[in-house]
Amino acid sequence: MSEFSIVGKRAERKDVRSKVLGKALYAGDLYRPGMLHGKALRSEYPHARIISIDTSRAEKLPGVHAVMTHKDIPGINRFGLAILDQPVLADDKVRRMGDAVALVAAETVEIAEEAIRLIKVEYEELPAYFTVEAALAEDALPIHEGGNLLQHTKLRKGNVEEGFAQSDIIVENVYQTQRVDHAYIEPETSVAELDHEGNLTVWSSTQYPFRDRRQIAPVVNMPSNKVRVIQMTTGGAFGGKDDITTEIQAALLAVKTGRPVKVVWSRQESMVCSTKRHPMKIFIKTGATRDGMLMAMEGKIYSDKGAYCSIGHFITKKAGLHLSGPYHIPHIKVDTYAVYTNNTICGPYRGFGILQASFAHESQMDLLAEKLGMSPLEIRLKNALKVGLSNATGQVFEHSVGFYETLKRAEEYMKTHPLEGGVE
């Protein structure tokens, strides 16, 4: 084995000393002179038209510096990582529990919370759809103008009918996964400030400063070169801080008040308002020969996007591209459907859709092995992708695929390290 300069060596994180000392600066650790605190009023309904918003009582509360609704946004009232489908502050309607309807900046968090309680919103409830089936029903109202089917992606390789005809055994099942929160210990936090030259700085707990800037600038109606986003030490993200969270809310309030503004989401807001892992309903049919060679796989994946896209159409498509797993299958047909519902938004979460697909294809492998009287390891070794074989999209691996060797190493290890309690 060749010697690497870093791989296989112990390395110390360069920020670790500041972290064990409690000196690492997270966004919430910033205190700017004259800093105000921002809070958002959240929608009480999963799907409702907004009839009126009355902010007059909140505006009169001592200590309140700004109350904003969609009418007070200087630029566009939309953001989104891939598609601009999410309002910064709800205008015509709300599409999920937790859509921001109004913003307040005040001297203290307590005053901001009190002001939020004084805002009156009149809603007209609309039917809400909490499953992909309900959202795709013919008589369902569109949650967005373009309808509730955000994207359908087709994947075709070979001829599945032929593949199933050549199979001696076919296993067909439906797998369902649930919505999951990232639950990073540091909640979403940003501090925004306009300087004396009119430059806007946003210090944030985020994953992508440049993507944040791209989405903040048009909302505050400033050119990108006047907006600076600085990622502070970030207390966990796992995909959940890919999207805009507190950045635009802090920026809008800082521009409106001319004062630095800190926005920290409560744990409840984090649970309700941030993106989640997509729940997926996966229909999968896998065919194999008597000696365990995979011949065909046909699948359909319905992913519950929640109310906005984030980058969920990519994630849904990716789940489909990986539904065959790390195995060579000559005939594949997969259809994926990303569907808007009135649930919490789903977006990136470690694995990017592949985790949901893995649950389905690995369960299928175990079931096939069981029915064929073969060990779960053997069926995987037989079908493992190797150099020269093609994956689901037809890409032929030319250099290396580590899967087969990894399985062999795991086999060796398990022979000498029996699992506690044994394996059934």
């Binding site: 064990v20 000392l21 919430g28 966990g236 744990r267």
Partner: protein
Amino acid sequence: MKKLKLIVNDVVYELETRPERRLLDVLRDELHLTGTKEGCSEGECGACTVLIDGKPADSCLVLVGQVDGCHITTIEGLSDGNELHTLQQAFIKAGAVQCGYCTPGMILSAKAVLDQNPNPSEEEIRKGLSGNLCRCTGYQKIVDAVRLAAGELSAKTGKGGGN
């Protein structure tokens, strides 16, 4: 407003503040000791753990009026200038730190474990850290760090051999 005395990391603070403020807010907003973190605001995550008269507590659930006259230890009080506490060194050595947000609370809970029992079993360490959540590192390396620190502290004081 009420006059209160807090002894934080051996420094005496005479404060005039609302006694119903959370200890966490007083430490962060008034004393600027931002090493103590807020994660859940309801005593579930342990990120805001401090020691009150040596005992670990979630500072988000303590009103400052309740700790008038008490000794409070925060993460800032562990190191001696640039000299890291044995636990801080052990967390670095064992790779027990990733995002770092749970680290201050985790280290203080670990200190409470070792102050009470210099040679704890793995189960006692896990029990002592059960009020602190971590989402990045996983708990094994954190437990390893505490064991490492226990061994080194015992070696220093000559009591027991650690494990």
